[in-house]
Subunit: 396 residues, 2 copies
């Protein structure tokens, strides 16, 4: 079975992805520098429950399933660490049972980025960190694959936020432009709403350069905000659950709204609430990444998918949260606050997202029932929610 | 008179720009970390003549003209240094006559980037350096202006290389796209031929974000390769001449061809030589930057000019060099070598470049006569040319 290397394997998506592939017989190595945990501690940001370390999780996973997930702890902005994952030179596992998997990984799934728009805009230091972390990790990966393993398929997580909210239909990554009687194909135009999202535009440009010039094989998954916690694998043991942030910095909107509803904190809708985005369940992220792995890009190809399952306005999400909460006996209120972000609050939004459906993804849609399930998990840990962590007023 | 802050003031364009504005009565501060000089020393790259330090140059300039150019030596990837240029806090001049100029600079001209495509592709370390230097300096500048001086006009040097060689006409920065019956205006699509050029695409995206979100005023000058050495100001004293590289790394093509012709080294044309680019004389760079300064962008506006005066194929430049050389009695030969770069060697190329002409630029065209003038300068320093520095075979 092939070897999948997961960069950022401790994160919200990284850890569930590691279990998902491991459960399906893949050889899995995860790498992480605990950035997300450390910054959550530093900023006293809200996590719904504490997590075992990555090594502890890998041990629990092994005890429960007999599958090994090798763990490397380190900073992938160090090019030598990145290269060691391909060559084995001076590679040190924090946890591993057997020998190093022979050869280079067939697939790298790259989640090792600072993923928060508000964090990227706290100040010039967090902005610099976001740009340099996200670009240097991506560049180190690109050069490692170019120099050491051209057959490796790179799957990178992009974001629908790269496109912003243009007044034309959003295609899946590419657009044919006719101009003054001539024609060419280009990356779909992108202009985003934060420094984080801009760093992802840059990543895409960088890897597209690598495809054109070095025949790399890259899949870029333009993902919408992900919600949800439990996956098939996390249900094996409650300690295997992924990180759950309910704060403004790292909490994605659905997760955050549910936490707000549970503690009687009004749902904070920014501005008019007409902002429309594409969303998906964490279980569908796993399906999509797996489908991308099974259908790799060809050499010189940058394959782009718009990884969303449906679209909602912020107001619709607030309404749905309200209804689910009411069913459970909560008195949920919605509060439109002054928008701390510069963004259109009412706009055209019509993204295409057929690619993953053609590959066979089976979407989990966001309904009152699926929300009620998430409510139950949050209610279990209700006493851990720190109200003051929810809203910090980071503006841009 | 207003204050112009020049980042990268020791470089090929930075120093002539400093003298140009200083001669016209502007208050001028230059900042540089000597990256270009240091890397030329490290890599034993060819400089036609050695240069006084930036402080020595500023002193010579002052002696000859009575104009002061304040000099700060430091690394602008340090955000505190960048911010000190706006606040004065802990700002230390390497050379300065009077007090600090009061207030913030009205205009910042940002040349402080690693400017070589081959250098950016020597290896993963130089690639990382290029990305992080160019982006972090730009981001530090953007945040300093946002946080400390929103009225400051940022003039950034971009490059025509951001656009690559698309099959449609290249507009000046922006394009209206009609798609499925709807319409919007976007940055002109960009895909470039090196990591350096990709870093400039990123810079543009970053500053465009700053314009949209913080109402910054930015002019982005998409410049073609510049040739030439002497400017009106450098003629005042021979020690004021700008850096002249004739090597593959930092030598722009015309300068390099002339050096090759003078020492009887065949002109190295990469591949078929049909690569077409837009070019301009260094004197026209100065005119354009000055016109940009006098016609600042408005708040929220990213003004883009394609800063070229004419286009040539590589073959045409080689021919012109041959003719100029022959007139001076040199036996110039042209050699088509295997292209070390991944690029189209024959392609459509039709860039618009009306903006600067509408502002009143008076172009200096590249002719046999203007080439002969450059030959004379190179011939003076002929004994300094190290043949082995010309071609190093950096491939991508």
């Amino acid at each position: 079975m092939s070897h999948v290397l997961i960069l950022g394997g401790d994160g919200y998506l990284g850890w569930p992805t590691a279990m998902y592939f491991s459960a399906r017989g893949y050889k899995v190595t995860v790498v992480d520098n605990y950035f997300r945990r450390h910054v959550c501690d530093e900023l006293d940001v809200g996590m719904l429950y504490s997590l075992p370390t990555l090594v502890e999780r890998a041990k629990i996973w092994y005890e429960k399933t007999g599958h090994e997930i090798k763990v490397v702890i380190g900073d992938l902005t160090d090019p030598e660490l990145m290269r060691s994952l391909f060559t084995g030179d001076k590679l040190r596992y924090q946890w591993s049972i057997g020998e190093r998997f022979s050869g280079s990984p067939e697939t790298v799934i790259h989640y090792a980025e600072q993923p928060s728009a508000p964090y990227s805009l706290m100040n010039y230091k967090t902005a610099n960190f976001t740009l340099s972390n996200n670009l240097i990790v991506t560049n180190n990966l690109m050069f490692a694959v170019k120099d050491l393993s051209r057959d490796t398929h790179i799957i990178k997580l992009g974001t629908m936020g790269e496109y912003g909210t243009p007044n034309i239909d959003i295609e899946e990554g590419w657009i044919d432009i006719k101009h003054k009687g001539r024609e060419d194909k280009f990356l779909f135009p992108r202009q985003s709403g934060s420094i984080y999202h801009t760093s992802k535009i840059m990543d895409t440009d960088l890897l597209w350069f690598g495809c054109r010039v070095w025949n790399l094989k890259v899949t870029d998954l333009m993902q919408g905000p992900v919600y949800g916690v439990e996956t098939e694998e996390s249900k094996i043991d409650s300690r295997l659950k992924t990180i759950f942030n309910y704060d403004e910095l790292f909490g994605t909107i659905v997760n955050r709204f549910i936490a707000q509803a549970v503690i009687g904190y009004p749902l904070t809708v920014y501005g008019k609430g007409g902002q429309t985005r594409g969303y998906l369940n964490i279980k569908d992220t796993l399906q999509c990444v797996h489908l991308a792995e099974k259908n790799p890009a060809k050499p010189k190809e940058l394959k782009i998918y718009n990884q969303i399952m449906e679209t909602f306005t912020v107001n619709e999400l607030a309404k749905l949260t309200e209804q689910a909460g009411q069913d459970l006996g909560y008195n949920v209120t919605i509060k439109n606050i002054e928008n701390p972000r510069v963004e259109l609050e009412e706009h055209y939004y019509n993204p295409s997202y057929k690619g993953m459906q053609e590959l066979g993804v089976k979407p989990h849609y966001l309904t009152k029932d699926s929300m009620i399930e998430m409510f139950k998990l949050v209610i279990e840990h209700k006493h851990q929610i720190k109200e003051e962590a929810i809203f910090r007023g980071i503006k841009w």
